[in-house]
Amino acid sequence: MVYSSLLYIYGFLPISLLLYYLTPRKCREAMILLLSMLFCGMISLYFLIFISAYTLINYLCIKLILRFRESDKLSAIPLVFGTVFDLLALFAFRTEYFTWLHRLIKAPEGFYPVGISFFVLSAIGTLVDAYKKRLSCECSIMRFSLYIMFFPKLIMGPLLRYGSFSKLFDSRKSSLSGIGIGMTVFVKGLAKKVIIADNLYMLYRSVQSSNFDEISAVTAWLGVTSYIFCLYFTLSGVADMGTGIAYCFGIRLPQSFNYPLLSSRIKYFAARWQSQVVQWLRRYITKPLYNSCEKKWLRETIFIFGWSLFGFWYTFNLNGIAFGALMGSFIVIEARLREKKIMELTGVFYTFLVVILCSVFLSGSSLSYSVKYFLIMIGGNGSIADTQAFYLMKSYIVLILLAMYASTDLFRNMMIRSGKKKLKIAVNIASPITTALLLVVCTALISYSGSSEMLLLRL
């Protein structure tokens, strides 16, 4: 089940909200756990069993680490065991080399544990925190299960540390206006996914299905631009939907994306794109390495290595590594040149170019494919634009412009900076109407198939 389906929006969501608010305050946490388990069970019963077993094993490891906390050596055993187990689970389902393992655990045909890239990192992080005695709060089985299974963050994060998740959970405040804000965020995410991402995906696919020896440079540019926008709107759309639902339950999850695409520096792009995952990698992998070396170039290498891991986390192949390594290198280069002052617009321009170049690698199926694609983009096929390019341009220009505008923070900034009361009132009147309208429009757009499941990357 995905958030952008009729079954979820008009079935699971209203029923779960109703059940939650009918439950007495004391038992609400148990209710959310029950609902999350129901959500997992609706993906498939096998998934529920899988994730429950996964949670239990990790929980036992954490408890063992805490039990042996006096001895570093003794508590390292459950840490190593847990980490290896988690990594094995991640690699088993994200790569193709472990089909024997699927058979061993009797997974049904085509089984994929939704959100495994997120919950494995969550679990490893908690194991390490427990070992380093950095767990800031009590680890109860209920809270930990929720940490892994909480359905609004199951599919697309955000990736939080156990402590911060627990704190968010303790400080939850539910109110009717909270539900309203939550629904606004949910519908925003739904619109990002259904209106923008799904249609851009059509553009991406029509470029993909063309004959690569004939397509023109413009077409190739359109293809990769649509890919990166589609990726952004898919990931952030699904993340927003989750955040919105969590808000309806009074839990304020942080944003994963902060308008990264049209940033004025590569540095800013990097800081705003799926920031929790980048932070996780820094906290658990690159920072410990940093501390052990002083030299600048070594630190920069580690930085690039961290980004390569991030890219690898997306695709689990060489292309992802190339994407990350390129992005990391560009950030390093930018940092070295930082003394030069540049105009904001130039910054947006070169950042976008770099992002596009990197996403050629992220989107490709192999390195040689990506290099070839890049050559086509700079005119390798000998044609700048052909009828196909004009046709696609004409068909999608409105959508692309809309996507560009929606991926900047211009609107939000206008909202924040405007002190005028009249404007504020106007926006506040328009907001519920727009939300309602978008909800109906999105419902219509998914009415044929009943759901919009395209995720571009399986995370």
Binding site: M1, S5, L6, L7, Y10, G11, L13, L17, G41, M42, I43, S44, L45, Y46, F47, P108, F111, S175, L176, S177, G178, I179, G180, I181, M183, T184, V187, I195, N199, M202, L203, S206, S209, T387, Q388, F390, Y391, L392, S395, Y396, V398, K424, I425, N428, I429, S431, P432, T435, A436, L439, V440, V441, T443, A444, L445, S447, Y448, S449, G450, S451
Partner: protein, 381 residues
């Protein structure tokens, strides 16, 4: 949180939750229809949950399909989707191109190529004593594909047909319907809302086919043509419910002075034999008006005519041929029309193929990739 945002939040909550509640209750309380007239298909049944279905998640998928099919206002939402989507992107919705005056299948390239089933026909021809003819008919996207040039499918039907013909053995005589139809595409030879050809399109190909089979074609002005409906909406329309496109006209060609049908026996799917007519006009009141030709789908229809030449023809076909068959009755004393996709048993259970001196295969290229539907015409062992 300021007071203003609080109020806005509350209003938003009330509005959105009421929308959700509205659709929720309308869907639950709505009439449980099992057939969609507009889409001409059976809607999903209430799924029966089973342990194994829940275990691998397929049951929840079925529940999702059920809710989707029975969602309140599905028809309205679907046509709204068509309008919206056409504004947002290419004029392509649910795989259908919405042109100025016609709908086209835009996912031609996703079809299984027809070549996968060519060996079936070769094996049939191998065992068969008479002469075999093959006419593969392009779909409307093939003939009007220029509208979709930028998607690279303009040539695909023609290419697919010639690739398919290349795989057929030399025992089979191939008829080039594609170029005939392509040349005439200024005329009303394809429905605007369906992938299939019109009766006129069928007539144009009939002229060539019947010459190959060894007869002179009947002249166009010998026919009296009746427009039996101007409100036909075909399979393409059903996926988008777009009201922008003018509904189609269905024509029936009647050769008043010619041979008549003496008997028309239909073997139904359940194996019964019933007496029918070439046209089933009751179908004009159903959701599938195209079934007016030859009526309900059946594995075998045996037509005896007043022609006295002892010539017998076996037609093995799909729905493209339904409007084509009536043209043949001027030339044969007996025609057996076999539809492999409706057969429950092997071909030999229905007819003895060697009773027929000629066999005509007539298929839409779009249906030839579906191997499972065709395999019935050869012996399994």
């Amino acid at each position: 949180m300021s007071k203003l945002t609080k109020i806005t939040g509350r209003i938003t909550a009330i509005i959105t939750l009421s929308i959700i509640a509205f659709f929720f209750f309308m869907t639950i309380l709505g009439k449980n229809e099992s057939f969609s007239y507009a889409e001409n298909r059976r809607l999903a049944d209430v799924p029966e949950l089973s342990v194994s279905g829940l275990y691998d998640g397929s049951d929840v998928e079925k529940v999702g399909n059920y809710i989707t099919d029975h969602f309140a206002g599905r028809k309205t939402l679907l046509s709204a989707q068509t309008r919206l989507q056409a504004e947002l992107s290419e004029q392509i919705v649910n795989g259908i191109y919405i042109g100025k005056d016609r709908l086209l299948d835009a996912e031609v390239s996703l079809r299984t190529p027809a070549t996968v089933s060519s060996d079936i026909f070769n094996r049939f021809a191998e065992k068969y004593d008479g002469t075999v003819y093959f006419a593969a008919i392009p779909s409307s996207s093939g003939v009007y594909g220029d509208l979709l040039q930028a998607r690279g499918i303009s040539r695909s039907d023609g290419q697919q047909i010639s690739a398919f013909y290349d795989f057929l053995s030399s025992k089979i005589r191939k008829i080039d319907a594609y170029n005939i139809l392509k040349m005439l595409n200024e005329n009303y030879i394809y429905y605007r809302t369906d992938t299939k050809w019109t009766t006129y399109g069928a007539y144009c190909v009939y002229k060539t086919v019947i010459q190959k089979l060894g007869f002179l074609p009947a002249l166009y002005d010998k026919y009296s043509i009746s427009h039996i409906t101007d409100n036909f909406r075909g399979n393409l329309y059903r996926k988008v419910l777009s009201a922008q496109i003018t509904p189609d006209i269905i024509d029936i060609y009647n050769y008043t002075d010619g041979a008549a049908v003496i008997s028309c026996e239909k073997t139904t799917k359940s194996g019964n034999t019933i007496e029918t007519e070439l046209y089933d006009f009751d179908k004009l009141d159903s959701s599938d008006m195209y079934s007016v030709f030859l009526g309900d789908p059946a594995p075998l229809i045996k037509i005896k005519t007043s022609v006295k030449n002892d010539k017998k023809l076996l037609v093995i076909k799909d729905s493209y041929a339904n409007c084509f068959v009536p043209f043949l009755i001027q030339h044969y004393s007996e025609i057996a029309v076999v539809s492999p996709e409706d057969m429950q048993k092997e071909l030999s259970e229905y007819v003895n193929v060697n009773d027929y001196g000629q066999t005509l295969f007539l298929f839409g290229i779009e249906n030839l990739g579906n191997r499972a539907n065709l395999e019935n015409i050869i012996e399994r062992n």
